[in-house]
Amino acid sequence: MVEPDHHRFDTRALHAGQRPDPVTGSRAVPIHQTTSYVFDSVDHAAGLFNLEVSGHLYSRISNPTVAVLEERIASLEGGVGAVCTSSGQAALHLAMATILNAGDHVVASRNIYGGSHNMLNLTMPRFGITTTFVDPRDPGAFDAAIRPETRLVFAETLGNPGIEVLDVTAVAEVAHAHSLPLAVDSTFATPYLMRPIDHGADIVIHSVTKFLGGHGVAIGGVVVDGGRFDWASSGKFPTLSEPYDGYHGITFTEEFGTTALSMRARAEGLRDFGGCMSPANAFYLLQGVETLPVRMARHVDNTHRVIEMLDAHDAVSWISHPAHPSHPDHELAARLYPKGAGAILSFGVHGGREAGRRFIEAVELASHLANVGDAKTLVIHPGSTTHQQMSAEDLASAGIGEELIRLSVGLEDPDDICADLSRALRASQKA
């Protein structure tokens, strides 16, 4: 059988989007620390500003270092292109701002990052965009919540913090049956563990800050354009399928077809909202992407070791990770995530809020902070931090109990991680 002639995933993680610099020979991606770029001529400048020709004109809109990261992530996800942003939240906002208008409606999973929940539940309604939240484990619930004015279906591939596994294919089929795109936040999965576009998703969003960057040194986000959704035929997305005065009447679907979303996201979204990534951050994040395959494999191995330890510990009341047989999505995860369902898990500590507090204060190796996906092991108590803005009712709806601890398993020696957690669990039981 003839195989497609493409570099494989691990090779693309190191090389996609870059060749050695033709002038200096630089093997590493140079940091193009510049705001702007000299035009060849007046005609060249006019062509860049009018989307007649491609290139860089101002680093709010594009930058050569950032472009390498964008192209690399697009390649790893199997998309047609990507637009990097200043943060994961900026990426979610950019995706929505590119295709939604006042009066539009979103159907979203209720089990998502607290910041995303806030944006959809509290902030976007001020701009006329409302959201209905549904159970991500029930594709029928997405279907039932779709209204005539719905324009987007949104979920996380691995929910936060319960690690609910989205049946991407099933939810994509629901969305597509209504001529709607499915956007997923796949931060916890990374393309190493699962590529949502292969399963039918149309837009993939990442907080690159997390596992893609992997070292906890830079904030960034990305919107990956799957390129398969027919924005024009759906008739529901005038920002892409109708003339836009911002570029002399251009119609993005007519001119750019499969790349209409990413072209408009950059040409309008970065131009007007300005949530761009800095070239220095792109450089830092690229260092992480280069080792993504080896890091994620180790993250997953360590996670499985931690699950074994927690499972045997008397202080643990429950464990939520798809690798654990008790997880409702255990079988779905085995199908969608053959390499493992990530390195974030949650568990309950006997003794409720106070025991949880004692556990957090007793860890010595794991760091108590508001991040995940670092090379180092991290712990947090969502009810008092990342999800604190949510009402008690919303917390309960999202499956977040007061005793819940979220753990992001790092790359330390797994024996050291387990020893630290075990010691803190024992301390949590001492009133």
Binding site: G227, G249, E254, E255
Partner: protein, 268 residues
């Protein structure tokens, strides 16, 4: 825009510039024709630029492709005749720019339609275009493998690593998506008619209009040496060779292709 051609609705990109504006009534009418399983968007680096540089640019979706009504036509000769119908619909002689299968269509049109074709630019082609059996089989089966094979073969080594001229875009990813989203059966039909067409050299010998041939030195789908009989037959044509391009120069080296088009359309 939409154009009625022989009773069917044809979709085309014009760079958002109406071609019936009085101030461009005498400007060259440039029709860009895509290759097998593709659509108008393969010309996105040229269409809008041409429309803002003294021409009336019309990048068409061939029948059955993109947003044009179907069905897809089943022979290069039939598609060349369709270009004649397009010329009548647009109301003037055409400067035809064709890529791969679109280049074969342009050759046949220029050889058979007389003064309805004002000039010709062809790129990404050989004197013949035999199709790899594995590609044809995958296309016949509407297997996504076909898009994957084509996307892997059609671009040069640099483009396989990336470095897309458009910041943030994946060239192989975009090519794969365009082919993947073409209607079922279209790619298979296109490849079959490319493989069956044996009239390129004869057409080349019969062409009298100004002609430019753009070839990528690193083209693996239609290797450079395979184009030589056609280049010889064309005789008078201007030859432009691009050292870092594969099968799709308009995507891989858009600046050089725009420069070649400018020289071709405005030789003085």
């Amino acid at each position: 825009m939409r154009i009625q051609v022989a009773g069917q609705s044809v979709h085309a990109a014009t760079g958002a510039m109406a071609i019936n504006r009085p101030e461009v009534a005498d400007a060259p009418l440039v029709v860009l024709i895509h290759g097998a399983g593709m659509d108008r968007t393969v010309w996105s680096h040229q269409t809008r630029w041409l429309a803002h540089h003294g021409t009336r640019a019309v990048a068409v979706d061939l029948p059955g492709h993109g947003y044009s009504d179907g069905p897809a036509l089943g022979s290069i000769a039939g598609l060349a005749a369709w270009v004649g119908d397009l010329s009548e619909a647009l109301g003037g002689p055409l400067h035809v720019i064709g890529h791969s299968m679109g280049a074969f269509i342009g050759l046949e049109a220029a050889a058979t339609l007389g003064d309805r074709i004002a000039s010709l630019v062809v790129m990404g082609l050989g004197a013949a275009m035999p199709v790899h059996p594995a590609l044809q089989t995958a296309a016949d089966d509407d297997d996504p493998l076909a898009a994957d094979l084509m996307a892997g073969w059609m671009h040069g080594p640099d483009q396989k690593f990336g470095t897309n001229p458009t910041p943030g875009m994946s060239m192989t990813g975009t090519s794969r998506a365009v082919i993947e989203t073409s209607p079922d059966g279209v790619l298979a039909g296109d490849l079959a008619l490319c493989g069956a067409y044996d009239g390129a050299v004869d057409a080349g010998a019969a062409i009298t209009c100004p002609t430019t041939v753009v070839l990528g030195t690193l083209d693996r789908m239609t290797p450079r040496r395979g184009a030589q009989p056609l280049v010889d037959a064309l005789g008078h044509a201007t030859l432009v060779e691009l050292a870092t391009s594969g099968h799709a120069p308009m995507m891989e080296d858009p600046d050089a292709v725009r420069s070649a088009l400018l020289t071709h359309l405005f030789p003085s």
